[in-house]
């Protein structure tokens, strides 16, 4: 029997490998912190409701790093993603429900695409083991469709254009604790999927270029959308989408070049770790700030600078190392597109910096809610901040030591700094901007085109419903009743004279036939 037949529970295998380890650490850390945070900040009456979804989601979110075969991976992916609906809709507001619906729809599509890809890979590899899958698909005639399915699935997970709204939607209405896990860990499963499933160095260059271009476009456009959105959480969501665009660039690199793949993988891991922690810290920070008053609030706002700077990629932060690793990876490719991407990469930091400024402003404006003791939240937040500060120095050396070394060079520090400075300058300049420009503030609701799409679907549904109703009425009205005509025909046919004449005609017919 081939190993790809369904074998129920026996087909699930879990193991820890080199790729999984950093993710396991990241996921376990973030889900634990956010669980504690959520427990502390959720009113006792609502805890059961929240954790009914939180626990399975966390279980899936952590074990996905351990999944050793296609089915376990799919299971963990689903286990994390589907219950997250309950976290997003926890607030029970109409917006939260709508966000949940859109999220779940996209999740369902993403799961379907992933399953399709996994099935093809399993068939081509005649195995379920993850390490074998990516290798086997590289030489399969179904390679292109499989990679397309994978990219689409991962793209939905990490909020690539045009689904850039999915991350803001899933953070905005979620309680802070849960949101930090979603922000920090959930999208990183997409990064893990890139490492586990995408074949390295087998695709034509055009594929790679298209993916890289898409990644860059996401990075820039999400930043622009984010600066125009409404809440700090939404800003963070778009920031995540933007950063995930950069991860996609790294994935694009690995697709076509086997030599650059280790560099790209290093960049993906680095980005995941760095971004996961920093984003988690920012999400929690927003909530922590709102719980504080006075001097503590000011201190907290100041502390927000650490993860913010890390995201921008300021020197000596984790973001700096991650970005450097990415640059290295892109640099390993030659051609117009990689070179253009390479040139554009620093410019993405301007967008990130602008987002961080926007986030900072919005967070500062938040009104304080002081009814819960902030002690536990602050303590947990501090832990995450500490991790943000330290993680870069626990870098697994064999990935890309060059990145760490270059973090200490002055020239590269300048490269990292100027985009941030431009953003600050731009922000300052904005004060003197015409009123019309300022009105753009907050015109992008979290979810952007997805909201429009959802509205369109609802409208189509209403239209269909209306049409089928009116259609039914006309159909009934127009049905002609032939019964009276049939009855009348029979009545005249059985009337004596007509009927007996018919019979005589029948007789004549038979006689005529027989005497031919």
């Amino acid at each position: 029997m081939t190993p790809i037949l369904p074998a129920g529970i026996r087909s699930l295998t879990f193991s820890l490998d080199e790729t999984g380890t950093p993710f396991l650490i990241l996921f376990a850390f973030l889900w634990t912190i956010s669980a504690l945070y959520a427990f502390a900040t959720t009113p006792a009456g609502e805890r059961a409701r929240l954790f009914a979804y939180f626990v399975p989601s966390a279980l899936g979110g952590v074990t996905v790093a351990l999944a050793g075969d296609a089915i376990s991976f799919y299971l963990c992916f689903a286990l994390m993603a589907i219950p997250a609906w309950g976290l997003i809709t926890h607030a029970r507001t109409a917006e939260a429900r709508r966000a949940g619906t859109i999220y779940l729809t996209l999740t369902a599509i993403g799961e379907a695409l992933l399953l399709a890809a996994l099935v093809i890979m399993a068939v081509e590899a005649d195995s379920l083991a993850l390490p074998v899958l990516a290798e086997a698909i590289g030489t399969s005639p179904l390679r292109d469709i499989t990679v397309a399915l994978l990219l689409a699935s991962i793209g939905l997970k990490i909020g690539t254009l045009p689904a850039s709204g999915v991350l803001p939607l899933s953070y905005t209405y979620t309680p802070a604790g849960a949101a930090s896990a979603l922000a920090g860990a959930s999208a990183k499963v997409g990064a893990l999927a890139m490492l586990r499933l995408l074949p390295a160095g087998v695709m034509p260059e055009e594929w790679s270029y298209a993916v890289m271009a898409l990644g860059m476009a996401t990075a820039f456009l999400a930043a622009i959308l984010g600066t125009l959105t409404t809440t700090p959480r939404a800003v963070l969501g778009y920031s995540s989408a933007s950063q995930m665009g950069l991860i996609l660039v790294a994935a694009g690199v690995s697709l076509t070049s086997a030599e650059a793949a280790p560099l790209a993988y290093g960049a993906i891991v680095a980005f995941s770790l760095h971004h996961g922690l920093a984003k988690s810290a920012l999400v929690l920070g927003d909530d922590v700030v709102s719980r504080l008053t006075g001097r503590a609030r000011t201190a907290a706002l100041a502390a927000l600078a650490l993860p913010a700077l890390a995201l921008v990629g300021a020197p000596l932060t984790s973001g700096f190392v991650a970005k450097y690793a990415l640059k290295d990876a892109v640099h390993a490719l030659h051609g117009t597109v990689p070179e253009a991407v390479y040139a554009l990469l620093p410019w993405t930091a301007i967008g990130t910096a602008a987002l961080m400024l926007r986030y900072f402003v919005l967070t500062r404006e938040r009104t304080a809610e002081t009814h819960v003791s902030p002690r536990v939240p602050v303590a947990l937040w501090s832990l995450v901040l500490a991790a943000v500060a330290l993680v870069v120095w626990m870098w697994p050396a064999h990935w890309n030591v060059h990145a760490i070394e270059s973090a200490l060079s002055l020239s590269s520090m300048w490269t990292a700094l100027w985009p941030g400075l431009i953003a600050v300058a731009g922000w300052m300049a904005l004060r003197y901007a015409p009123r019309g420009a300022r009105r753009l503030n907050g015109i992008v609701p979290p979810g952007d085109v997805l909201l429009g799409l959802a509205a369109a679907v609802r409208a189509a549904d209403r239209w269909l419903a209306g049409r089928s109703r009116s259609g039914g009425v006309t159909a009934r009205g127009e049905r002609a009743d032939i019964a009276p005509a049939l009855r009348a025909t029979e009545r005249s046919a059985v009337a004596w004279t007509a009927a007996s004449t018919l019979f005589v005609l029948l007789v004549l017919l038979l006689v005529a036939l027989s005497t031919r």
Binding site: G8, Y74, R97, L115
Partner: protein, 489 residues
């Protein structure tokens, strides 16, 4: 003789139920439950025989040159086992559900006759015998559909009957035509028409006629119109219609037709398999999309059934061994999942008079065990591992890919996404705050609750144990293998 018993035992129980009359409820329940237990034991014995390679069979002369035959092969036994086991579960449920209803003798009598006919369909050894039991099934189901006697039920019954009889007419012509050109053609794994395989034009028309016949019960679009309407029947009947006997008789007919009458090779070379596959694929997608838009709980489930049945048809029509086995396994798996759902629908209606998804808020707290079972079944239906639906969906997907039909795989996964789309809103609606206060005592009649929990647990257990010898997955592969020339997975 033994081969006739799975059909005869329920038939006798049905007649006995009529004879006992309305007033002797205890005796009626005892007769039916005993018959169910006996049938289960008998089917189990036959399964053991069949696994060991002994197929119990028997024939009696019927029409000139044609015999009525029953044969307890693994393929048929799978369907018979589904019908028999779920009959037992449904009986308990129905006894609870129909506790205060009128005309129970009629209800349980026809119920047993339905199962008898389903078992007849399952074990029928040739097209004629299958056709006969198929038509009996149509007839014995009709009184159940119109059981309540309301104008709505009668209208639905009329619709059901016209679809069923129309399909039966097509099937009759197909079977008779085949008999005139090929004589007695007992089902043979891999195909029974080798002697007449040259008459391609006729064989194509016959195939189309038979598909039209089976397609009605299999609710293959556009022959599905009766199914949503038939939802007016009492819940145990809906369960029977949708999960156990009736619709499965249709897809089972298609399985027999493709694998054991024409055979995958002939069906492929005649070019009849692909159109069937496309029809099924369209049904899957269209029915799933329609299901998204239904507020009526049972109607939504009905459209889901239409989609899921076409899973089986599609898997069979792909003529790829693993897909065919997956289709057969899905026949059993879908039965377990869908019966959980219809039990739930019946239970919430009978307990709280909830009929629509939009009336469900608060239900999760009012009937937690029921809704939890439903949730498990719903996720199983959407194909979440390691639940039961995933196993067959995986097989179907892998089989499609192996057969070179990646498009079918995409249809399957899209339908999985759509299944989440129409199932989850039921759960989310039930999870909302709402009018239904938590129950003080039991959440519903225990005779309804425990069957639900049992089948709910079964969706998990069968999923976890998928692939073990005796599980539907293993069983289906063993039963399908001979049709593909001794293919081993």
């Amino acid at each position: 003789m033994t081969a006739w018993l799975p059909m005869l035992i329920p038939a006798i129980a049905g007649i006995a139920t009529f004879a006992l009359g309305e007033s002797r409820g205890r005796a009626r329940n005892a007769v039916n439950l005993t018959a169910a237990a006996m049938s289960m034991a008998l089917v189990a014995r036959l399964v053991v025989h069949a696994y060991n390679g002994t197929v119990v069979a028997s024939t009696i002369p019927m029409l000139p040159g044609l015999e009525l035959g029953m044969s307890a092969d693994l393929l048929g036994l799978l369907f018979a086992a589904v019908a028999t086991v779920l009959w037992g579960v449904t009986l308990v449920y129905a006894i609870g559900y129909m506790d205060h209803a009128a005309d129970r003798a009629r209800f349980f009598g026809f119920f047993a006759l339905c199962i008898a006919a389903a078992n007849g369909v399952a074990l029928a050894d040739d097209p004629l015998s299958l056709f006969i039991f198929y038509e009996i099934l149509s007839l014995t189901t009709y009184p159940l559909v119109v059981h309540t006697g309301t104008p709505e039920a009668l209208a639905a019954g009329r619709k059901y009957l016209f679809y069923a009889l129309g399909g039966g007419a097509a099937l009759l012509v197909g079977v008779a035509w085949l008999a005139t050109i090929a004589g007695q053609t007992p089902f043979t794994p891999g195909g029974a028409l080798t002697t007449v395989s040259g008459r391609t034009a006729e064989l194509r028309v016959i195939f189309a006629l038979m598909v039209a016949g089976f397609g009605v019960k299999a609710a293959l679009m556009p022959l599905h119109g009766w199914l949503p309407g038939a939802m007016v029947a009492p819940a145990p009947v809906s369960s029977l219609l949708h999960a156990v006997a009736v619709v499965k008789a249709g897809v089972f007919g298609i399985i027999r037709l493709v694998n054991e009458l024409y055979g995958p090779d002939l069906a492929t070379s005649l070019g009849v398999a692909t159109p069937l596959a496309i029809l099924a694929a369209v049904s899957i997608i269209v029915a799933s999309v329609i299901a998204l838009r239904q507020d009526d709980f049972k109607r939504r489930l009905a459209y889901s059934t239409i989609a899921q049945l076409s899973y089986i048809t599609l898997g069979t029509a792909l003529c790829s061994p693993l897909a065919a086995a997956g289709a057969l396994a899905h026949l059993a798996h879908h039965a377990v999942m869908k019966i959980t759902m219809f039990f739930t629908a019946g239970s919430v209606y009978e307990t709280l008079h909830v009929k629509k998804v939009s009336q469900m808020p608060g239900l999760a707290r009012r009937m937690p065990l029921t809704m939890a079972s439903f949730a498990v079944a719903a996720f199983a239906l959407a194909g979440i591992p390691p639940l039961v639906g995933f196993a067959s969906k995986w097989m179907l997907g892998v089989g499609s890919t192996q057969g070179g039909s990646v498009w079918a795989l995409l249809v399957y996964v899209s339908s999985g996404a759509l299944a989440l789309g129409y199932m989850v809103p039921i759960l989310t609606s039930a999870l909302r705050e709402g009018d239904h206060a938590p129950a003080r005592g039991a959440e519903s009649d225990p005779r309804m609750l425990w069957p639900i929990v049992t089948v709910g647990v079964l969706t998990v257990v069968l999923g976890l144990t998928a692939g073990l010898p005796g599980s539907p997955v293993h069983w289906a592969m063993t039963a399908i293998a001979p049709s593909f020339g001794g293919w081993t997975p």
